[in-house]
């Protein structure tokens, strides 16, 4: 396997324009002759399918949910960044680029990030035109707020439902193409394998989740936009259905998986309350604009928050990071919360929580202003906990939220399998070792609306692709393998439920490959995940049959993949003998407990090649170059 990142040369400001000019084009009349598969219908997949359909390609789009509008992008709350500088506060494309490279702790590609920052301004225009109801000022102009890791206000938002509104914009554009006949939508259909013919991605094998039918679809290119793998932790802020199956099975067919250990722990989630808990709920980062984070100074202080006088509170982020305060990046905020809880100063029954307090802001701005900004989030908090955040502080704790790692792609978003492209959270490309808030929506839409329409055409125009249909023997072979794995899952009929394995896997990964990692723990985790995977394949109980709607069977296939990916995450974390961004190795920290990078030895993206179920994966390194932003220890002090 050879990694050719196809990064353009020349000045970064002109690189994307120049690349687009250098790319080959498919003429308008020929586009309809090309079949394109898009798997996933979130911000990346939905916007890609809509834009490619509009260009005239024959598109098939797949999602496992009952409607493309349900994709998990819908749950993003806080906002989307764009370098518009509407606030006149010194923002620019270069500054967004700089903040993102620094926020990612110098583990992302500069050229990708610059393109992302450039596209950010077009995204806002596009979404406004679609009728996305962004927040407005009284004068009718777009409103902004600030997010972590930035000292400008560049985040556009639609109350606390920005992801929903952006996704509905893409979804509506997609449905318009469905009506126009250029996109065929396959809902309740899950991709279970990739079909590779002569080294190129030529189709997928799917399961119809209602009838159980295993089906084949041939195409000239396959685009995966299936989101992240945060559910490997079982408890995460991801939707229950979010999974790694599409990208993992493509990985097993030859797509390199990059930086799997780069996972993001979001600092502000509602703490766990019991063993039955099925998911964690995020409280938007935007709350840190007006909420102050604190714990009692005294160990084991069990007084109610209102009883603790000002002088006995430790606003630890403001104390440790005076210039960014409560708006430090997510990795920094999460680790700081863990540190105070490890000291025994955590709050709530479990001691795993810190306060996020709005009292000062309510006093300063009035309850109405706070309600206008965060009303729906406060209601959600109240519904889940039964507590009122207007009168007593929220309790929050970090939880897994996003995965920066994903399938390796080159500058044109193509994986190591020619003809297979990967967009959005499913790829590894733009966020390095830590993603800044309000940048995931930006990346998904940049990839889908603006990058893939150019790069897909280049691939199709510069490769002579033979006509392929599903009668090719490779389709029959892959379909047979899928049938066999479904049959096997159903035939074990062991003693343990699928979710009991998933919970156990999640606990191992959280304990050893979560907010803090070390070599010994990671080695333990690898052994335990292997043993658990072995037990799963001998003792799992998947009830029912494969011929109808069987939710347990769906989950079983996904958990089987998480059981393999979890091991790769630990291997990657063990290999990376440094701390950077969300990857914090306890052996590598400064005296003040900050992450300590090792640029000499680890300034690379780790791309793993699959070699088999029980053999060790092969590591390939893509060296990262920093010509514009000089790597330095990140400081938010």
């Amino acid at each position: 396997m050879k990694l050719d990142s196809r990064i353009p040369s020349g000045p970064i400001e002109q690189a994307w324009d120049q690349s687009r000019f250098d790319m080959k084009l498919v003429n308008p009349a020929n586009k309809r002759k090309f079949n394109v598969i898009v798997v996933g219908s979130g911000l990346a997949g939905g916007s890609a399918a809509a834009s490619l359909g509009e260009l005239g390609y024959n598109v098939k789009c797949f999602c496992f949910q009952d409607s493309p509008r349900r994709a998990h992008s819908i749950a993003a709350q806080g906002g989307i960044n764009a370098a518009k500088n509407y606030q006149n506060d010194g923002d620019s494309i270069y500054r967004l680029f700089y903040d993102t490279v620094k926020g990612g702790d110098f583990r992302a590609r500069e050229y990708n990030v610059y393109r992302l920052a450039q596209n950010s301004v077009n995204i806002i225009d596009q979404c406004v035109s679609q009728g996305v109801p962004f927040a407005r000022e009284y004068g009718g102009a777009l409103a902004n707020r600030s997010f972590g890791g930035a000292q400008v206000s560049r985040t556009f938002y639609a109350r606390g439902q920005t992801g929903q509104q952006l996704l509905l914009g893409a979804y509506q554009a997609l449905e318009a193409q469905v009506a126009a006949g250029s996109v065929a939508m396959y809902t309740r259909t899950e991709m279970l394998d990739l079909v590779v013919i002569d080294g190129k991605a030529r189709g997928i094998v799917t399961r119809n989740l209602v009838t159980g039918q295993i089906e084949s679809h041939a195409a000239d290119a396959v685009i995966l936009a299936t989101g992240g793998y945060g559910n490997v932790f079982y408890l995460s802020t991801n939707a229950k259905g979010s999974n790694c199956t599409a990208i993992w099975r493509a990985h097993k067919r030859g797509a390199a998986f990059a930086n799997p250990c780069f996972t993001q722990i979001h600092p502000t989630c509602i703490p766990v309350s019991g063993d039955y808990q099925s998911k964690l709920t995020l409280m938007s980062e935007s709350l840190r604009n007006d909420g102050r984070i604190w714990v009692p100074k005294q160990l084991g202080d069990k007084r109610a928050p209102g009883q603790i006088p000002e002088g006995e509170r430790d606003y630890y982020l403001e104390r440790r990071y005076p210039s960014f305060g409560n708006l430090v990046p997510r990795d920094v905020a999460s680790r700081a919360s863990k540190a105070v809880c490890d000291e025994g100063r955590g709050v709530g029954e479990t001691g795993l929580g810190v306060y996020l307090d709005f009292a000062d802001s309510i006093n300063r701005l009035g309850r109405n202003a706070i309600e206008e900004r965060y009303g729906n989030l406060f209601e959600m908090y109240n519904r889940i906990t039964g507590e009122d955040p207007y009168t007593s502080p929220m309790r929050i704790y970090p939880a897994i939220h996003y995965t920066m790692g994903g399938l390796w792609v080159d500058y044109q978003l193509m994986s190591t399998i020619p003809g297979m492209f990967v967009l959005g959270e499913a790829n590894f490309s733009d966020h390095g070792a830590n993603r800044l808030g309000a940048s995931a929506l930006m990346q998904g839409l940049s990839d889908g609306y603006f990058v893939i329409p150019a790069t897909l055409g280049n691939y199709l125009a510069s490769n002579k692709l033979d006509k392929v249909d599903t009668s090719a023997p490779e389709f029959a072979a892959t379909t047979a393998e899928v049938h066999e794995s479904v049959r096997k899952l159903l035939s074990i009929k062991g003693k343990r439920t699928v979710s009991s394995y998933h919970r156990e896997l999640g606990k191992i990964i959280w304990d050893y490959c979560g907010m803090a990692r070390n070599a010994e723990g990671l080695t333990t985790a690898i052994n335990r995940v292997q043993a658990l995977r072995h037990e799963f394949w001998n003792n799992v109980n998947v009830p029912g049959s494969g011929e109808d709607l069987n939710q347990q069977l769906e989950i079983a296939g996904r958990v089987a993949d998480f059981l393999e990916l979890g091991e790769l995450m630990c291997r990657d974390a063990l290999n990376r003998n440094e701390s950077c961004g969300g990857h914090f190795r306890e052996e590598y920290q400064t005296e003040e407990g900050e992450a300590m990078r090792d640029d000499e030895n680890f300034q690379y993206a780790a791309a793993w090649e699959y070699t088999g179920q029980d053999t060790e994966p092969l590591l390939h390194k893509e060296a990262l170059e920093f010509k514009y932003v000089h790597p330095a220890q990140r400081s938010y002090k």
Binding site: Q65, Q126, S129, A176
Partner: protein, 257 residues
């Protein structure tokens, strides 16, 4: 607490369904309703029985996947709350709960509590969008939008497409769902060019999908987990009436392809 559940079980769209009784024991008040069902299902699997199928995904009240009737109320008894956000602290020990899928001709049952809501996608496809070619948009601040209009548009756009409005309506009408989209786009300057055509086509699709007619009963507003008001339906009716007059004699779908 302990509860008795009566749950609609139906193997597939063609099979007959029936209510089946289950006990839910040792339910914690901090559980969500779906977590309570998860525990019931884990027990059923352990007993070699088939678990209850229900739809869910984000479990934070925004994806719109979940939803069924609890004692005849869409999404259960708590106002403005989807089932995934409904917590057990709002129930009492010993309660008997009847769980049934959304009931509407346009939403056929696929299995147990899961229904097919594909009709909603087709209503959006009929006209619930602004046609704008990717990359052709003017600057975001080129057209000012009064804050009030943006806020009302957002109130309407908050719809999660769960189908509770249809399930709660005695006529199984989808007027609130459709009215919300027509209002959202109709409130904004960007939505004006296609406003009439949108109203005509989306309303026409409602009939094709066999949703019932709206008779202004208001159950939809009461059941809506996002508390979308029925004034959205009035807006739809106004747009539709105006459009029908504007395009009179132009044939179906507002003519002018």
């Amino acid at each position: 607490m302990n509860l008795t559940l009566h749950v609609w079980r139906q193997a597939n769209a063609a099979a007959p369904g029936r209510m089946v009784r289950y006990d839910a024991r040792d339910v914690s008040e901090d559980m969500s309703f779906l977590e309570m069902l998860d525990v019931v299902n884990e027990k059923l699997i352990g007993e070699g029985k088939e678990p209850i199928a229900f739809e869910h995904d984000c479990r934070e009240g925004i994806c719109g996947s979940c939803g069924f009737m609890i004692n005849g109320a869409a999404h259960g008894p708590q106002k403005g709350t989807t089932i995934c956000q409904l917590h057990m602290r709002y129930f009492k020990d010993g309660e008997e709960l009847y769980l049934e899928p959304w009931r509407a001709t346009a939403f056929p049952v696929l299995k147990d509590l899961v229904v097919d809501r594909g009709a909603f996608d087709r209503i959006i496809a009929a006209g619930g969008f602004v046609s704008v070619r990717t990359g052709s948009a003017p600057d975001g601040n080129a057209i000012p939008v009064p804050k009030e209009a943006a806020d009302t548009a957002m109130d309407a756009a908050a719809c999660i497409g769960c189908g509770a409005c249809v399930a709660a309506c005695p006529n199984a009408a989808a007027a609130l769902f459709t009215g919300a989209k027509i209002s959202h786009l109709g409130m904004l300057p960007q939505g004006q060019a296609e406003r009439s055509r949108r109203a005509l086509r989306m309303v026409e699709q409602l009939t094709l999908e066999q949703f019932g007619s709206c008779t202004n009963i208001g159950e939809c507003e009461a059941a809506c987990p996002k508390q979308i008001p029925i004034e959205m339906i009035a807006r739809m009716n106004r747009d539709h009436l105006k459009a029908a007059w504007q395009f009179r004699g132009a044939g179906k779908s507002g003519g002018g392809e």
